[in-house]
Symmetry: C2
Subunit: 139 residues, 2 copies
């Protein structure tokens, strides 16, 4: 069970946009891609999916680019993952009739756990966790 790079890329992009959320100005895909080590041509696809799920907005033309559709505090890690991947923690077991129901309940239980964990983590918190760390250095 491994997380796709796509989800990681998406999260990086949103986190990066979160850092620039204050100024309310759009950022170009290319800039974002280079800054975060993401192939820009690939990043485009991801951003489009994020846009269709109302997580980011876009403006066209010169001085165009992307920006968050809502404040970082209202975007959770779960939102982003679900946007690019379907349901977090999918499994063929969920639909396979051969899978015993007891086991399916088990899978659902860990599924719920990962969902709760991902949904209780906003990008605002991620930002603050970084400044939290900087404070540590002052001690």
């Amino acid at each position: 069970m491994k997380l796709s790079v796509k989800s990681d890329y998406a999260a990086r992009a949103v986190l990066w946009l979160s850092r620039h959320y204050q100024d309310g100005t759009a950022r170009k895909v290319e800039e974002m891609g280079i800054a975060q080590g993401i192939p820009p041509k690939y990043l485009v696809q991801i951003l489009i999916e994020l846009k269709s799920k109302q997580i980011v907005k876009s403006v066209r033309g010169k001085e165009g680019g992307y920006l968050l559709a809502r404040p970082p505090a209202e975007i959770t890690l779960g939102d982003v993952i679900r946007a690019v991947e379907g349901e977090i923690f999918d499994s063929s077991a969920m639909t396979d009739p051969h899978c015993p129901t007891e086991l399916r309940d088990g899978w659902r239980r860990v599924q719920r756990a990962v969902n709760e964990a991902a949904d209780s983590l906003t990008f605002q918190q991620l930002l603050e966790s970084s400044v939290e760390k900087e404070k540590m250095y002052y001690i």
Copy 2:
């Protein structure tokens, strides 16, 4: 993020062996495969991995087969998944230096959540959850 069928198969196999744990007699892989809807030839490979992780034992020769290496109460869902897949919830983000540390901490957090969920679920509990359900019918 999706669970491989392999993990599902492994869990089904262990659950099935758990049901027959009492009699302490070995069960053939063919029987198990057919009963659980798992390609027997594939199941063999899975069982070998489970055996190398001390989750099941095997006996050879006629009347040979597989049985649990320890009671169902001492086998967790996490044990089984880790046996056939490496670490549960792996991600390239964990090692990629381009991934911001704040985000990496986020990933680790959900990783911990899924690990705890999987480790706190023993096959004994899964078995009991099924009889639990039968009791529901008596109401």
